[in-house]
Every structure is written in structure tokens, then in C-alpha cells.
Amino acid sequence: MGQQVETRKINRRLFLKRTGWVAAGLTVAAYTSYPVVHSTLPALPTFDAPNTQDGVLWLQAMADGRVRFFCPRMEMGQGAGVGLSQVVAEELNIDQADIECILPDTDQVPPFQMTVGSQSIAHFFDPVSWGAAQLREALRRLAAKKSDLPADEIKDGRAGFVLPDGTLLGYGALVPDTGVIVGDDQLLPDDALPRLALKSVKNHKAIGQDWRHHELEAIVTGQMTYARDVQVPDMAFGAVIYPPGFEAKLLSADTNKARAIPGIIGVEINKGDDFVGLVAEHPFVLETAIEALNAEWQIDETLDQGQIDARLDVQKFRSDDDFAHTLLSSGDLGTGQRHAKHRVTGRYDTPFAAHAAIEPRSGVVWVKEDKIEVWCSTQDPYFVQNRVAKVLGREAEDVVVHTHRIGGGFGGRVPCQASEAAARLSATFNRPVRVQWDREDEFSNNYFQPKFSHYIEAGVTSDGKISHWDHDFVSSSILTGTVPGLIGKAIDMATPDDGTIRGIVPQYDMTNRRIRYAAVRTPVPINAWRGLGSAPNAFAIESMMDELALKAGIDPFQFRLQNLPPSSDRLANVLREVAEISDWGRPTPPDTGRGLACAVYKDETAAAVVVDIQIDYTARAVRVTRAWCAQDCGLVLNPHQVESQIMGNIIWGSSMSLKEQITIAAGRVDEDNFHMYEPLRHGSSPEVTVSLVVPSNMAPSAVGEAALPPVPAAIANAVFAATGRRNRHLPMTYESTFDETG
């Protein structure tokens, strides 16, 4: 053992439970650090980033020469499984067909960080590379033993090793039936561990290739099992009536009528926690039975959008001078204002928004005496494990979550409330129970992106520099959004929410600046939504940058470049690149306009976006027709996958800019299906061109949300270029462009 290597003790036993594969005789250490919730707070999914050494936990060499990879990331289309498989392949000199990539259940690997924040590659590249390299070296030692040669004479070969006489010794010939897992006592110290994935890109064989995700064939043939598709023998079918408004209270329900319906197994009602559920032998009677229950609720109907808007009004906080948090303050605003040749103020607002993933969530839960099984899809199976345990008053260790590919995550699929309800019904009725949310449940019972209300006062000097930047904003805590009541308020006072303030500090040079923030909690549930605060914040910042540039008579592209400090060279690079590929500056036809914006996501990934928009006066519509994105996300494991993520972000950004808004009316969420909340459709979506700036020496960084932040401002800037009208509120519609702003 090398002295630098500190390996956490982990439960190797977890590996051994796998069906059809048993690795006997390995050292088993106790894994004790798993946090179990004891407080009354809902468990917050707060697992830390992985340690490099965790990598060996996820890999096994199998007797057939292939490698099993328990990819410690949930899959929702971001393709982490394929990108990280490429890292495994690189270290072990194998192909995609040599890897069995598995979405792990909670009893197959120790807990890992939940799948959010575009961290799958950024945080897991290094541990996976390290673990795969350790496995390769363990196999090399087996090859040395087998061939009776010193390990350093055994060279790397395809899916195995080459002996000095040129013989290829495949992994299959080395691995015993029990497989190979690297034990804690077999780890090489870092300086003795060659890392093929860290070599220069030109030597890479797997990294940088456009591998296709191994599940594509299952997806296009309808064979992929999503959570909604799970069937368990003897499964009963449950349904739950959720409170039809914020903090609604259950008054009554007619259980007798529902119970009398043939096929109904039973009804469970608990006024104490407003639970109304029932279980049936088959799903076709559920709708009728739910109606027969005739549940009545008490709702406070006074809460409406106007009240919420008034509470999240940045102007009100400014007049009261009531910002709990000064995020940044340097120089002197007064001095800046005196040096300003032009001054601009702008107020920018963004609405509540929903995830609207196309798959509504679903869970099947089977509560047995010794064990509880859950089948669902979630961005954090260990969180669901905890929550289900808590609902049942059992230990988390008793719960196994079988994970499935998620039909769209976007931050909305951390909890699985359907599984929590199914757990309850399964415990009561002693059967495996399925609970599926419908579209209305998704809109009414999940959490949202918070509203943001920004106010910026800024200026430009006579030489085109930013003289000062005075930015105040109000929104709600995201990461701790579900923490209730007074504890939540206390958290808000103590610290600004990292998710809400994401991307709030502009990259530009500005000596005199101040950024202040106030947090407001309303009854509207808030939590993660793609990119968290980064897109609403960039909307304000990058809209103001355009307003300043135009006021000063400087081209918006030039204005950004001349205000970026040398330390922001990656951002400057992508700006130049996007200007190049979009032919920035080219005159645009009438009724069209072009806009630009850029942002750095989480201090790691730089993205710049140009869009063309068109005003269709006949159809009374604003359309994004073309988009270009240049992005620098360091080492690119799979260009196709990264490009797909960028395209997805541009569509998402166009949709949030032009279409999406959740409104509160009469104490509830007004929108309940796609007729009221309609994401962007194919015919209205832009054609997207992507350019990846690929430096060879940078570590891979965030991709899944990185191209999103610049999109809304780029569109607002383009609409201004086309119409001379400035949209400072999302969503930007034809009506808002021509009636309410200007």
C-alpha cells in the first residue's frame, strides 16, 4: 500500500448481492457513514462529491473478459453512462461491447452523490478513471503471476496484455469465475498508477468518440423499462388524491361508495396528514373509484399571483432598503455613477416554471417483513430510500430501490412522491402496489423554479467600460426550498441560497459594484429546475449588457469583449467563436433580429449563444429560427452527446423564454396540462449549430445545463434588434413585446 492512498472503508458485501454473480472470498469492511435521517425535517439529498478512491467500488472484471460498470449516475438522457463508459474503456483498452454498463440499485453500490447540477462527468471522470486504472493494474498483476514474469514486462494490449514474446493474454484468461474486484489492500499509490484517460487527447482511443448510448435500441423498439412500465407479480393498483391547493386540508370522503365498487381492495384515509388513497385489483376502476370518494377539501383561496408578485417585488425591497445579503461589494457606486457617460436602469422578472418532463412519475413498492422493494426512477435513489423508510417508520437499510431510466429529470425528479404513497398503501394492504401520477398530478404536486425579480442600475464610461453595477434581486431559496416554516426562514437569513444565486456575479470587469439579495418564502413549493438560478440571473445580466452597449453605441459583441478581463479568456474565446460561426454583424432581413449573450456556468463551462428571431405579424408570434452556440467544457468525452445536450438547452431556453409560466390562482397552481403550459414544439424550434472549443489540457466540466443561461437574454436582445422593443419579463410573447413594454 502506498502511503498517500487513504481509502475509505466500504462495504464490499454490497457488491456480492447481485443476481447471477458472486464474488467470494473478498475482504468485507463495514460501511458506516451512510446518513440516516433522525430529525423531523425531510431528508435533504446532500451527498458529497465522490472521492477519487470510490472508483474501484463501481467496477468488476468478469470471467468472460468483459467489465461490469455500475455507473454511479442516474440516467435521464444526459448520457453519463456512455461518457463514463468511455473512460472505463480508455483505461482498460476495451471497446463498448466489452462493457456491461448498469444503472445501480441501492443495494449494489454504496450511496453516491445525487445526479444533479451537470456534475456527472465533471465529478466522476477522475474517480472512474482512477478505479478503472486500479482494476487494469490488478489484472496486470494476475497476468504477471500467470506468466511468471515481472509486471513491468507485461504491456497493455487490446482487452488484455501483451507478453514480451508477443502473445496476447486477454482479460478473460486471467479472471476467475468469481470475478475481480480491487481490494482495499491492492491499491497502487497515485504516483505508481498510470492513467490512460489523463493522457493527451491525441492518444485517446475511446474518449472523444461518438459512442451511442447502449440503451438506444431498447428505446427505439419500445423495450426500455421506464418506472411506469414496471410490472411486479401480484401487483395491485393504487391511486391517491392529492390536496387540490397549497396547504389544503381534507374535510371528508365517502369511503363506502368507493369500497362497494367491484375490484376495489380498500381505501385508506387519514385526515391527520390529508391522505386519501385506494387500491384496486386492476387499474381500470381507479378513476371511477376516485370520483366515488368525493373528497372535500378546505382550501385557502385567497392566495393568487398578484399577492405573490407583490411579495417578490424587488422595488419594494429597494424602497425599504431591505436586502439581507450583500453578495458582493467593491469600489464605490457613487464614484462609478459620476464617471458614467450613460446610465441605464432595468427591472427584469422571470416567472415560476415547471419541469414538465414527458414521463409523469410512478412507483411500485412492495413492503415485506424483512425488506421493502421500490421500483422507480429518481435523480437520487438514496433519497427515495430514506423517504420511503421514513414513511413506513423503518430503517433505510431495509429499503432497496430498483432504479430505472428517467423519462426526463431536469431537477424535478429527486423525490418520488408516487413511491412514498405506494409504500403506504402497500403496507396497509399487504400487496405490491403501483401508484402513477398523471399529468395533472405532475403540475399540481411537484415543486417549481422560483420567480426572480431583478433590478440593475449600471453605466458606461466614455471609453466604453462599465462604470458601475448596482444589482438587487429577490427570489426564493432553491436548495433548501422544501425546508418548512421557521427553520426555512432562519436558513434564509443565515445564508444566501447557492442555487438561487448561481451565476449572479458577472464575468466583466467592474470596479464599482454591489450585488444584494433578499429571499422570500411563499406557499409555492420551490426546488431545483434546470440550471437553478443561472438562467434567470443571466437573463438580467446579459440583457443589461446589451442595454448598456446600445446606449453607448457599441456593438454588443465588442462591448462584451472589451469588458472581459484577461482571466476570462475562455469566455472571450467562445464569444469570438460564436461570432465567427454565426457571421455576427451580417445584416438581417426585415422583421428579424439577432441577439447575443454569454455566461460561465458554475465557474467551469463557458458558453456563448447567438440567436436569430423572426416576428410573424400575421400569426402574432415571436419565433427563434436559428441558434448558434460555442461552448468550452474542457475535455469532451463524447462530442455527439455534448452536442445533444447543447441542442436540448437551446430548445429548453427558447421554451422558457417564449412559452412557460406557472401562475397561482385561488390557492392552487392554475396550469394543469399542456394546453395551459405548452413547451416549445418541433415546428417552432430553432435549427441549432454547435461548436465545441476543445482544449486538450482542461478537465471535463459541466455540460447538462451550461448552454442554457445565455439563451433567454440572447432572445430578448434579438427581439430588441428586430422591433426596438425591450422585453424585460419572461415569457416574452408577441403580446408582451408589442403591448406592455417598449
Binding site: 427505439v220 419500445g222 411506469r228 399542456f674
Partner: protein
Amino acid sequence: MQLLINGNPITVPEELQDVTLLDFLRDFAGLTGTKYGCGIGLCGACTVHLDGEATRSCQTYVSDLDDARVTTIEGLAQTFSGEGLHPVQQAWIAEGVPQCGYCQAGQIMTASALLRRVPDPTDEEIREEMSGNLCRCGTYGRISQAIARVAQEA
């Protein structure tokens, strides 16, 4: 009453005649490749073919089906005379279209019905025809490319 689903006759129990084709497929026939997304005809995730025409199965009742032949994503490849997957499925893999993949069965059923009717659709026709199928992951650009690929290779 009987339905012909992917070439197999399936008897509809009396009490299930007024359920939607979507529920029937998923919860009775065990064909879960067809997806639920909205239940009101607005997302296209539930698209199947009725006599070769793209149809929203959430808006179709079993009792309305008469003699229609139902094809679901599981049976699409059989409707193609060549080897292996249907050309649209092949193109979807070649272009790496799916992200989360949940909407893609519906997208493929709509695209394959379009290509049967219009073997070489214009970009405008593709955009219009595919607009009934929502994709929250934003795979629209790759969908257009995959359809164009099928048209070119035909």
C-alpha cells in the same frame, strides 16, 4: 370483440370495451412501449398506427376500433419487409436521437406514418407533421435529421 395488435388477435373482455386504447395496450396487453404523457391528445407520446395512420391512443376508445389493425412500437419492425429494425428505428440510432427517450416511441410512430404517406418530405412538412409530438429534452433537430436520412436512403 377482438383487436388485431401487431398481427396478434387479442380478445377484449366485455368490461374493457370503454377504456382507452392506451390503457388497454399498457395495462391489459402488456405492451408498455406506447407511453402516457398527457392523456388529452397534446403530447403524442401515446402514438400508434391504426391501419398505418398515426393516431393518439389516449384519445381512442377500444370500442371504436372495429376492424382496425393496431401497430405499436413493439410491432413496427414487422411492418417493414427488410431485415432487422424498421428504417426509422435504424435512423434514430444512427443519428443518436433519443435523450431520455420517453417521447421517442411516439415520435417514431408519427415519423414512420409520415414517411409511408410522403416518402420524401420537405423540411417544412417534417416540422409541421412532427409538431404534435412534444420532446422536453429538445431532440427536434436530430429528429428532423433522422427523418431526412430515411428519405435519402430509401
